[in-house]
Symmetry: C2
């Protein structure tokens, strides 16, 4: 999917909602466990319930990989079930030397045809470049993450800036706002403003809203740009609101509420 | 596998050789392509040909993931075929927030029971900790990699040291030399000495020998410690020496030559 198509979907739905499918067998409603593929049954119901509000779905590959072959089958069925006009993210945090990153790009752009994949920057340019060679595909590179561990390296000084600032500026120079996005796990207004000032045109994937403490209003107010410019991911705050037969209805209600909060910015 | 078992195998074989199974369908001998599982047929022959010299096998998961389900099946068969007294590495470069890294640890320590997995440090402590909770399993964390991109962030100043030095010191404090190793892609004597001085007891996984320009003598001379302390990975320099029916014999000859160069350090 290219930027114009993503933008069109965002403005048509008046939404920047990304629903995170971190589907965990131990957390889904018990009545689904008798299905042949409980993970897919759950995801299918969640997609049906949220597809009018969501402009993106993010599949956290770790939860599928941990199930072995079964998990990859559930992942592929889920990917195929997502409507083609909704932006798909393989949240896989890959990154390796050039010839190996080529294989990862092939995995998530060809074998499993996602629109984008999350990429770790530590190994530098040749670890990211292979993801930028596919037309209408995106690398979503880790900039500032929302976990406690972000203090260990990302927030450490590097010259006269912080490490994540160096990462954002350096990685941005390897591609364009048409093929690179950044993970920005910020929840504070000042930090969001600073990152947006540094990169006015890039899309940001923002986790950490809902159960992790961020709020839609602050994120939208301080990061949205002329094309939308942000995808706000909510996982647990939508998919695990209820743990019984009402789970899909409750997910729908939560998605509607998030979309409503976002709609005032259009 | 614990450190004592790894050490025993190293001293018994007088070898620190790790054979990298970066098995690529486009590079293996043509006669194998008629096999039901060409990747496994290739790996099986390489393992048979090198298991008396190798103390470790490293499976580069990207090459398997790119094949989809077929690839994961080849990977599992390969892992099961490796003799149980040889240390196994899932070279997967994973790393995410805590609850997601738990899923990756489960993938590579339980679903696919490797002895170790390579881990990217950018997301900090909670992205690494879940890999340290499994008895006799190891996280092999990226310190200094051997690719050109290592200059982009790893070799940048961070306070009065370089980023990779901060990573080595910080990550080492999260575990012990019994559950953490580091990827050290150094080939220069001074850098190897400096890293060894910083971390006297940890094992290092050293790529970059052979086709990437490092040499066994320099690495062994400057990194080996009382327990061996290093695993030198060779991929292309062993598995792709020949591209015809002699490939396994040539791989054997190359492994014997590497082991001979290592043996003088015991």
């Amino acid at each position: 999917m290219n930027r114009a198509q993503l933008k069109a979907n965002i403005f048509s739905k008046k939404s920047v909602l990304c629903v995170g499918l971190d589907t965990d067998l131990t957390k889904i409603p018990a009545h689904l466990l008798k299905e042949e593929d409980p993970v897919f049954a759950f995801n299918k119901a969640i997609i049906d319930a949220t597809k009018d509000q969501a402009v993106s779905y993010k599949i956290n590959t770790a939860f599928y990989e941990a199930q072995g072959l079964k998990g990859w089958i559930s992942m592929e069925k889920t990917l195929n079930y997502i409507p083609k006009d909704i932006f798909t993210i393989a949240d896989a945090k890959r990154g390796d030397i050039g010839n190996t990153s080529e294989q990862y790009a092939r995995t998530f752009f060809h074998t499993y045809p996602f629109d984008s994949v999350t990429v770790a920057p530590y190994m530098g340019s040749d670890s990211v470049q292979p993801f930028l060679k596919f037309e209408d595909k995106w690398a979503i590179v880790l900039g500032l993450t929302s976990n406690a561990g972000s203090a260990d390296f990302q927030l450490q000084p590097s010259g006269d800036e912080l490490m994540y600032q160096k990462v954002l500026k350096t990685v941005a120079s390897w591609g364009t706002p048409e093929n690179i996005m950044f993970v920005i796990g910020a929840t504070r207004k000042e930090q969001l403003q600073e990152v947006r000032a540094l990169l006015p045109h890039h899309f940001f994937l923002v986790p950490g809203v809902g159960t992790q403490g961020g709020d839609v209003d602050t994120v939208c107010r301080n990061t949205m740009n002329e094309d939308g410019g942000v995808l706000i991911n909510v996982s647990r705050g939508i998919i695990y609101v209820a743990n019984d037969e009402s789970f899909a209805d409750k997910a729908h209600d939560a998605a509607v509420q998030y979309q409503k909060e976002m709609s005032v910015f259009f």
